[in-house]
Amino acid sequence: MQLEADTAGLRRRLIAASCALLSAATARSEETSVPEKLGRLLENWQIQSAVAYYHEDGRIQAIEPVVSAARETSDGGKIDLNFTFDSLSGSSPNGASPSRAAQTFASPSAKSFDAARHTYTVGPGRLPVDPNYSDARAAGGANWTFNLSRLTQATVGGKFSYEDDFYSATVNASIDHSFNDKNTTVSLGVSSENDFLQPIGGAPVPLSDYTLFEKGGHKSKRGEGLLLGLTQVMTRSWLTQANVSLDRFSGYLNDPYKIISVIDGTGNPVSYVYENRPDSRTRRSAYLENRVAWQRSSVALSLRYMTDTWGVRSDTAQVRLRWWNAARDQYLEPSVRWYRQSAADFYRPWIVNNEAQGPDASADSRLAAFHALTYGVKYGIKLNDRLGWFAREGTEFNLRLEYYQQTIQDGPAGPGALSGLNLYPGLKAILFQFGFSY
């Protein structure tokens, strides 16, 4: 009896022990590895990320990582978030014109010419640039799209941008309605932006003499925008979109760091003044895009015409061609963009000191008349079949290279000493980007 009981007890204990072992083994097989945990966390999210490196010849360079994440919501809507950070450094034109003699300028943070580390000298014939330019920016945005019905969607969202001298916050809302079997979509969007500027050294008194350092305080500006769009499926392989938009900005629209050379009749600089721009700007633009697809390639052509109350008119045309390989897991995408703009009414590369002066003047080359060309190429490779457990359908690695050149043509010839100098050197830049989507 005793022995039997003991055997039964032993058997019970053995069974208990083996059960414990079994459950431990099961638990171990259920224990997820780190990659699996990561995969599960990102399960419903589509991530796109890229790092862009931008380099201007002799000027600014910037590095800009960007990430965006999108997720479908349970009612078939979408949430998307994005975040970008950029860090700039290098030389930035300060608005003054080249001169036959060397010129010395003070950095924006300077309060006077005395402190040597806050000044910089530009050689004869060279375009005056501030070599200590540096800026860091963090920006992000979020949008939530939800269905009002099967054919109507609304989106609300906002974005912000933060630099040490500039903060911006924007809210936007839009509504899209489709009909004709979703072949036609009309959309209406509105946005409202508020910006707060705290220029380094303070906001200068417009058109004041630069050497007086009359600077102080902070400024603000705001903008409202309206966009009306129509998207139409033309055929199985052709899609068209047409938009018109209207924006209005008001408040402090000056660049607080830009100056203008004041020259005498012989072309020599006698002083420099801070720029001034109108305190409102209304801009209208029309945009047309067409995309056509074939079995292994597609082309996207877009055109934009813009006009504003500052007198700037611009035309933009961009073509992108995509070629897929036979397996459709790699592509090559060359692109070309052509851009032309006219000068703002108050664009003055310099001011002649005895001439009558309007209330606004700016020598910022971004407001000059120029044309620009961008040549780009992008290569992408889909990784779903190559990375096994990790990859999903949208997994892709891509590289992009672009060359951008701005040419200022027919700029007014400088009088006297300015003639013969290269007053409008333009801009050459390259962009190199690599990206990863998951």
Partner: protein, 179 residues
Amino acid sequence: MRSENGLLDAAKRRCDQPPDGQDAVGSAPVRIMRNLGLLCVFAGAFGLTAHGAEISDLGALHGRVVYLDFWASWCAPCRQSFPWMEGMKKQYEAKGLTIIAVNLDQERAEADAFLRRFHPGFEIKFDPQGLWAARFGVQGMPTSILIDRHGVARFTHIGFRPNDGSTYERQLEQLLAEP
């Protein structure tokens, strides 16, 4: 041995009577389907091809609840509905559910590549010309039509959103519960 035409006539007679428990007009999808004369189209000449063979034996489907789904490999919500349809098949096949997924890819190779990846257990039919999609009035991708045991289309759904699965499942349970 009933002829196909005989089946069609018998089905048409059944279809012309309103389903029990519903008013003469019926729910919106039923109304639409009836106006388009499609209730009987389904009941009668189910002429889709499955690997080249015509399906004309209605007897196999009559008495079962049919979930007729129109999908394509390029449609993301369609891809999301496949695991759900697999789940429905496992759970309700024994209770009388048949799932038929009609593929509308123009390129058969695309559909095959998709099926090689997902290995669905339910029946797949191919309609590359979209003839059946047109006759059933498909308005969006995916479209699913829930047909009761008498061959009457009772619910039509356009789209498959993440929280639609539970709604459709309740409707399937309702139809499966009916005699």
